[in-house]
Subunit: 349 residues, 2 copies
């Protein structure tokens, strides 16, 4: 993310004054809005061997490829509990982001600029992978200026398709931009989701008005703070707007349903060029006879075809196709096959 | 419209330098964007009896009520052919606005400030009538700032309901704002349309998120120029956005389908605070299984449930209910009754 300019204006891992400023004010020390510190953290035993001024090589955790070099400008101690409270709003280790942070031995941060040699496994693994400059070039060639980004870590069901269709109605074009970095256990793997996105775009979207690309980042499930990070990233990818749905980047009940929307209200045009498109939970309404949300539909819950993620997974893993008002049949088929294969694999192992 | 501040910043009928400036630059002589001159035109025989400095009383054409007073600042000759060409883009008398202009004997304009005594027949006839200050107050009380206006001169069928629902998904609230002034022959009368709007809002809209008010203006069918006027009016009513659909305020084939959208591209924030939400023709797509437009749907025309206004009128006047994908049954019923009654009345006459 640093190497491709997706974290612009960051040129490396933040130094102490930026780390502290981000935790205190949600801004870098120079005033630029930044919600979550981007750090390289190491254990005491590693930090102990390093000194300011050292140039160290950075390798990929996947295949040990050397991907970059860090010039260490500063070594400082991370305030993990404060960081957890600020970034995730909680110190509860049931939250996967908190657990990862608080259970880590990596309490030392190496701040400094980074030189990038390679984009690692992503360009090789994902033909849909693209850097911000590549995506901006596509938008420029298409003559688009009003471009809405859709962030996702899930397959696109009807309710999310509806959000993207609204975006398409009011914009020059749509960037479907799923994260393909590390997810939490239980989330659908990137390669399966990509199949779902592709068949959906092929069958139900005007192809010349949609750009489908993937980007490498680890999901933090930091709700409002991560929503702002998602927005900054999409600004770097050339988008003018980003869809922020209910409980964006949330998990469990750690965030209020509209926290990730309200957080944008404090910013003006100078703080963030990209703007959120705030949308509510959406569903098929039997009385309306169409997709809707609480913002557009006056009918009671009993008229709404709503299904929990858990229930949907249960159906799909049993090979039951959900109603077309919930999931397009082509997407359901891919997911049923995926669950079937996972099940078979688990049975054989 | 002048008296209630809907034409703000105009305080009266334009004087010659403003008339000329509007025709030349689409701006008043002080630089304010204004697309169609607001004039009081009279015949030679009337103009001949008047002089600069005269205070004349203005009466309603409907019931002769004295509604205001004009202090004549200037009497000047109207350039009807130039005006027609600029405002309507044509001198073709098949265009109802052009016909009215070119066939009129009123070639003299009385410019000057107007004092308003009464809002005429509108507050009495329409309980839904509201001045801009009243509507702005409603928005303020609701705490809305992102408000989208929907201008209409027709009953709201599914395709237009879809536009308003998109507006509701992305805003604090929606102003359904039909014109109830003079229309062309064949358009549905205001009182019938109001019944349609009310039943639709009652059954299919979240009532706390919709404001339904009517405003008095004569439709000009001036396409792009009228779209800009519609926007300025809604800015005065406190809206931040206005829906501009395909061929907005158009008639026949006088304007390109997106002329009324493109015309806004020349303006920046200083010119117009209100922004257009540009949308395409919309329809029910059988393959998508939902409402859509060319911006969101990749399927060929044969999958789209589209019906011309003429065909729809024909169905309704024969008492045939169109599909629910075209018109809500409650709206269809009102229109069928209206056509039935009109038919009976005509048969009796």
């Amino acid at each position: 993310m640093l190497g491709i300019g997706a974290f612009s204006p960051l040129e490396g891992f933040v130094v102490k004054k930026d780390y502290e400023s981000v935790l205190k004010d949600m801004r870098l020390s120079n005033g630029v809005v930044w919600p979550i510190p981007v750090i390289l953290s190491v254990s005491y035993s590693i930090a102990n061997k390093l000194a300011v001024g050292d140039n160290i090589l950075l390798s990929s955790p996947y295949d040990d490829e050397i991907v970059g070099q860090l010039n260490i400008e500063e070594i400082y101690i991370r305030e993990v509990e404060k960081e957890s409270k600020v970034v995730f709003g909680t110190n509860d280790c049931n939250h996967p982001g908190v657990a990862k942070l608080l259970n880590s031995d990596n309490k030392y941060c190496l701040g400094g600029k980074v030189k990038v040699f390679s984009e690692g496994r992503y360009p090789k693994e994902f033909p849909q992978y693209a850097r911000p400059d590549e995506v901006r070039k596509i938008f420029k060639e298409k003559g688009w200026s009003n471009i809405i980004a859709f962030q996702t870590r899930n397959p696109i069901h009807r309710s999310h398709e509806y959000l993207t269709k609204i975006a398409l109605e009011i914009s020059d074009g749509l960037l479907i931009h799923p994260v393909v970095g590390e997810l939490k256990p239980g989330d659908i793997p990137a390669e399966v989701r990509i199949k779902c996105y592709e068949v959906l775009i092929e069958k139900y979207y005007p192809k010349d008005r949609v750009v489908f690309k993937v980007y490498p980042m680890e999901m933090r499930y930091a709700g409002p703070k991560e929503a702002v990070l998602h927005a900054i990233i999409r600004q770097n990818f050339g988008c003018s707007h980003i869809i922020i749905g209910r409980d964006h980047a949330g998990i469990g009940n750690y965030y209020g349903p509209f926290d990730a929307q309200d957080i944008f209200d404090q910013y003006n045009e100078k703080d963030l060029k990209i703007k959120p498109i705030k949308m509510d939970w959406t569903f098929w309404c039997l009385k309306c006879g169409q997709l809707a949300s609480k913002k557009t539909c006056p009918h009671p819950d009993k008229d709404h075809v709503l299904i929990s993620g858990t229930k949907l997974r249960e159906m799909l893993s049993k090979g039951v196709k959900p109603s077309e008002t919930i999931t397009r049949p082509e997407v359901a088929e891919i997911l049923i096959n995926y669950y079937q294969e996972t099940l078979n694999k688990n049975n054989f192992n």
